[in-house]
Point group: C2
Chain length 184, copies 2
DNA sequence: AGGCTCATGTAACCGGTTACATGATTAT
DNA sequence: ATAATCATGTAACCGGTTACATGAGCCT
């Protein structure tokens, strides 16, 4: 469902090929919406059938041919009405197998769960490091014309950073508590 | 995949019926793992086929009959090995249609996106309020024997609170920025 | 020769959701 | 009467993942 709006969102900026879209997802939405290339190609087909986008084959001599998709008027309408809609019930209950594991960790000794948490902490720190480079790359990307767009990119990047920092603080808190248990 | 481990986790505490499990998910894991009752019953069937759990029908005179499931030795082994495994790649990239919407909100006026964010903020505040009652209810729940279990319940509840607080701070930050745009 | 980027897909599967179906007992 | 709680499921669907398949051109 939502992948299709992601595609419409990118095509609303400018026409793109499936390959371009794969790259676009990887380099920007990746953090909160990972998309498989296979899925993107399938979704493009569906969106074309619905008349939300339309594709034109571009013949290239030095590279494989490609199909450039543009958003149609109906597609634009659909996308903008999605943007305006308040769905509620998102973010507030997300799924996490990791938290479920911690929830049930009363069945294991503190050293084992502390180990999982230290691993998690480490993953978070690596991730945070990567994310701290994003805001600058956004700044360098947009022209003046697109400045208003970039605010929103910054805001979502900011969410990512705050979120990971919260994870780090929480993991440290957990490890601290579990360490007192080992001593006792 | 993970629902099955949730079920094994609960059955590892004590034998339960499908109905009991539905309630257990609703009242504790709900925040980070919502489970449909239909899905639980399907999963119970699969787990029984695999030999991880085994069910016995209990005839009741004053209520509909029920089927009580217990975890088997193989089921226990499976569950404990899952608990010990580090999977990585969880939590760090989660999916959020809401964040995707904010990401693309450069196509809408600041007043519209601010409205979405205010709605989100409000949902978070309501949710936080509900969550603040959880730690106490956990304290009152466990006997001394189960005290060690409850630490982990507290830790996951704590994650939920920190997370929602972060969402609230972020949403306020966003609204502030967007408000300066309205004035300009 | 081997690996990378560009470029596009198909097929099988699966975890999970939505909607529907049923029916007994208990409390108001 | 009627709503709530107890109790268990089926069927259709769908969004998304995994694995696989192909092939041209470029760089080292």
């Amino acid at each position: 469902m939502s992948l299709s709006f992601g595609i419409l969102g990118f095509l609303n900026y400018k026409p793109m090929s499936g390959y371009d879209l794969v790259k676009a997802f990887e380099s920007s939405l990746e953090f909160f919406w990972h998309a498989q290339n296979s899925h993107i190609y399938l979704e493009l087909k569906k969106l074309e059938q619905k008349g939300y986008i339309c594709g034109k084959t571009v013949i290239q001599s030095e590279r494989p041919n490609k199909k450039i998709f543009s958003i149609t008027e109906t597609g634009k309408k659909e996308f903008l009405s999605w943007l305006a809609k308040e769905n509620g019930e998102d973010l507030t209950h997300f799924k996490s197998a990791f938290l479920m594991k911690i929830f049930f960790s009363g069945n294991t000794p503190p050293a084992q769960s502390a180990k999982l948490l230290r691993q998690f902490l480490n993953d978070c720190e690596v991730y945070l490091h990567k994310m701290e480079a994003i805001p600058e790359s956004i700044e360098n990307y947009g022209s003046d014309k697109e400045f208003y767009q970039t605010i929103y990119w910054q805001l979502t990047a900011d969410f990512g950073q705050r979120y990971i920092k919260t994870c780090i603080e929480w993991a440290n808190h957990c490890i601290e508590i579990l360490d007192t248990f080992k001593e006792a």
